[in-house]
Symmetry: C2
Subunit: 375 residues, 2 copies
């Protein structure tokens, strides 16, 4: 059986968890949380980072930080995970769904401006499969219309965007705020887990307060205030040190993990080119401004029937492939209030996109051969 | 050095975490999550249980489930943790603060009815120190005025209430919903962690959806629907299997942990009676309808000066005692909008309550002797 995903252990996870326990503090915001946060700041130059219990929670923090209120509008792609939308719906926002690009599932940057109204508060680009959206265009729009940009970088660890200035920037460092996931299906994992990157310094102090349940506890322990109390809304967004210790073992091996995943990705991509063309299947496109982080290898089939047939063929060989994302604008929760246009590309990816197995310990050879021989 | 708290490991935590990893699934809602949830259902008769990343998150789920909206009023004690309030503030509620009892910090059940208005939606009793509020009176009020009751049982695992029917009921099983904490300072721990108990069956299906990010994913995996998608608001409330595996090792030893903690509590209580009387210090009161779960041993000092002096004396002997809870009605966040009465008991506990060290591996003898000799 070849599973779709297999969590990879670097070998030190249990050692660090044991150490965290020995340190006598396993609630959040301790030794390993700081190690992980410093790692991200140093490696990617984020202004400030806060670990969260999930990427969903990081997005919820972002929605609170930009003061989303009833009636505000937030623009995002329809082809994304429910949490991208729910984080803002929970604060009262109306979600305005944009279509995806024809060449890849990221938001069509040229469709955004037509969706902006006087109520628009934010744009949430989703770096699908770790491939950058066209951030220059999105940041320019944000500047023109005075909007916030929250990067949904759930899949986008260690991936980059090079804009018109020629500088390669890590995803999650470009918008005002960015949200990452360490869910077990991601490159770097902690079971459940996430992180908020805070690039706009205006949010740094309040982010820490919201993270610590609406208290100024962190400032208190730094000696900046003489008692701590209830100063804002907030939640328990911080993960246990057990989770942070696990994550630290992963981060120590980030370069190796990324290297190996990209090799798998290249192997799929090289081996399947001719087969894909013959079968009218689209392989992943990496725009010139983007990098590939080896997060996901997917096929865009020519139609739903073809996708279903490939899934079945692979399944008959004990290989599990999966699809995802019913376009959010047509999901049961939103279909009754959605009054926008039809989103053809989003619906096409919903019907036709298929994710092949991708994990560190994968051997793609068998999957490639089965695709070529069996379909 | 005697710390205030020391997380206790039963010995199997790392074994079960390793097993969870070997099972190939470390995201939420897996093998250990189910073990823990079933344990609680079987031991305490909760209708349904869902593990959460924190008690805060369990309270947030409750606020979503009872459809808290802008302008709704929620009654709770002012002497509680910020999350009790924030979970409802995040949904737009106005918090109406009640005073505590004179004999213990739980909500004064006789003060509630006067706070009920046509906007009141829920009462949130907090079982402070694991000691039950007078649930018969609270449930009667809820019935009369058609309100929901959410038990904040953060500290109240394995504690009970016996009402007028003479039946001993576990805390968290009496209100419509209950919220528990497994934060490292609690009896049973997972670093950060919590659980929602769902007693009113009307909430069972929707709770699962909200827990799974607003999707009907759980129903899909049970084969009840043929695809899953966005059907409601929600968040990523479910903890990693790593956390659930840790928790399972604790739950296997619940009876032993409870036994030992209650012995410490009894030792404090017996040894300090005369000393407390001499110094006009109030020891914990357990009403006849309540049980003691060995969560916390506290002193109510005669004034702030006395508390400060005791803290300093103990600190000079390397013993850490702590106080907590600035009354929420007088916290920086709420003081400007609070228009209720002064809450004398709540403020008294803020100034005078002191928590003594309490953990499984504690030896109280030294602390008791120091209190008696030094103060």
């Amino acid at each position: 059986m070849i599973p779709f995903n297999k969590p990879y252990l670097t070998g030190k996870e249990l050692v660090y968890i044991e150490d965290a326990v020995k340190k006598g503090k396993i609630s959040g915001n301790g030794y390993y949380t700081n190690l992980c946060q410093d790692f991200f700041k140093n490696k990617y130059g984020f202004n400030k980072c806060l670990l969260t219990t999930s990427c969903t929670d990081a997005l919820e923090m972002a929605a609170i930080l930009i003061n989303i209120k009833e009636g505000d509008e937030v623009i995002m792609p329809s082809y994304t995970f429910v949490s991208t939308a729910n984080a803002f719906v929970l604060r009262g926002a109306k979600i305005i769904f944009a279509d995806s690009r024809t060449d890849h599932p990221g938001i069509d940057e040229n469709s955004i401006e037509g969706l902006i109204t006087s109520k628009t508060k934010a744009i949430v680009p989703v770096h699908y499969a770790g491939v950058a959206c066209d951030m220059d265009k999105i940041m320019d729009l944000a500047k023109t219309y005075n909007l916030f940009v929250i990067e949904d970088a759930a899949q986008a660890i260690d991936s980059f965007y090079t804009g018109k200035d020629g500088i390669s920037k890590p995803l999650g460092s470009i918008g005002h705020l960015g949200a990452f996931s360490f869910h077990e299906t991601k490159n770097i994992i902690s079971g459940e887990g996430g992180m908020l990157s805070i690039n706009d310094a205006q949010f740094a102090d309040r982010a820490e307060i919201i993270w610590e349940k609406g208290t100024n506890r962190s400032a208190f322990f730094r000696g900046e205030v003489d008692k701590y109390g209830w100063v804002d809304v907030g939640s328990s967004f911080l993960p246990s040190e057990i989770i942070a210790a696990f994550l630290w073992a992963q981060l120590e091996n980030l370069d190796d993990i990324q290297h190996v995943r990209k090799l798998h990705w290249e192997q799929y991509n090289m081996a399947l080119q001719d087969w894909a063309t013959e079968n009218e299947i689209q392989l992943p496109v990496i725009p010139s401004y983007a990098t590939n982080n080896g997060h996901m290898f997917y096929l865009v089939c020519k139609n739903l029937q073809q996708r279903t047939a490939i899934i079945e063929k692979l399944k008959s060989k004990d290989i599990l492939s999966v699809f995802h994302y019913i376009s959010l604008h047509s999901g049961p929760f939103y279909i009754q209030i959605y009054n926008g246009d039809s989103l053809l590309q989003s619906d096409r990816y919903s019907d036709c996109l298929l994710r092949l197995p991708m994990y560190y310990e994968l051997d793609c050879t068998n999957i490639i051969n089965n695709l070529k021989n069996e379909y």
